[in-house]
Symmetry: D2
Subunit: 136 residues, 4 copies
């Protein structure tokens, strides 16, 4: 299992007139979580793209448990539980940094595609090499 | 059952370097869909807020089926199937306007809260009055 | 001179906790204005890109005169006053649709580049052909 | 004079199909710059709002000099040169962290308003107290 926590601060731009973080913004926070999870394994996602692969979402789920507010410090925990063949599944838990209160939970599912053809493909070696040591 | 279709055009700002619409943007498209669904019943969501109520998300699910691209015309179909007591559940299907190809499907679940206390509450009369004729 | 007005509606996602449209969103509204200005001349900007050209910003100026709010209908007036050699200068005026009250004014300046080399280039024929009849 | 540098990383969500950071995003980066500038003086902007004041933009200018790309580390330098009576003027310079290459320059001008009345007002004591030691 592979787990990583990234801390971000809520921007004014992220809020809406309800005074909370806008619901769609959490998918951007999830993105930060999985990008830094990969980097913690020594793999910049930009390297994956330079190798000719992309990793679009095929599914996402979010549970909004407690609202985040302007200037909050949030911990984004991203977890990869399985090193699957074609799909990549990542779980997220966003909590308030100071209190640990759960803000949002969810997951994203992805599939590797070739950048040029946009066709599905198996995970590239650069990806499995970076992650496999966490699944042995 | 209550169903409404709104057509929008993909902005350059909505795209990312993969050439597709960014995954988080679809929650904004869902917002447009449900706002115009309500307006089609004669209810501006801004009126709901003026009455002292808000309708935050408690859950969202998205299935990304085919990518949308810059300048695409998209149809957002929003459907309310039940007039529930406390939760509001809305289904969405986004299709390419010209071809009907399915781009994204999903749902959002919401709960009414009082704007001042941020406490959950039953749907306000202004909301049930506007929708109930579609469920008789 | 070439002038075009596009009407948009402010989304919840566009607002921030001040209850107004977030300051950075207006550059997205300007984008909608110039895209529809070009389309009104029979030129989809996506066609410009298909020809191998892009039109990034080199400068932008915004004056925030009165705030726009959620669900407001806004008129975006985009104006091209000169058909210059290398730079494209577009002026914008955003007004409240019902009252004409001025919300934001500003301009963007652009330079055509070749998509592959990212080097500056003269405006492509597809662009000057579409616009020149308005400057004769 | 008061100057502060904040480092951020470009998100995938910030990019557009031109492969660059979307032009409107830089106003969000400017926001991060001035928020952290204030925090470096011991003043969280959220405290300003809790005191009943807001600081909307009245003007913004951006010069796009070189494009930023996905996953770039950017330094946002924010500078306040004068402690004016009613208006707040902040200059920004965004550079690539590794090379110092200039990406974007610009400024924002703001005016304090009272949160309840939305009327212009002089800068609150909490603000001038935090900044005045840098202008003596």
């Amino acid at each position: 299992m592979l787990k990583h926590v990234t801390t971000i601060r809520v921007r004014y731009a992220d809020t809406d007139k309800m005074q909370f973080v806008y619901n769609g913004k959490y998918l951007e926070y999830f993105e930060v979580g999985r990008t830094e999870l990969l980097r913690s394994c020594g793999l910049a996602y930009s390297e994956v793209e330079k190798e000719g692969y992309q990793l679009p979402l095929i599914e996402a789920k979010l549970r909004y448990i407690s609202p985040a507010r302007y200037d909050d410090l949030l911990d984004i925990e991203a977890t990869v539980s399985e090193l699957l063949s074609a799909k990549v599944h990542i779980d997220y838990k966003i909590t308030r940094h100071e209190t640990g209160e759960v803000i949002t939970e969810g997951y994203t599912t992805h599939m590797f595609i070739k950048s040029d053809s946009k066709k599905p493909t198996r995970p590239p070696k650069i990806y499995t090499d970076a992650l496999k040591k966490y699944f042995e």
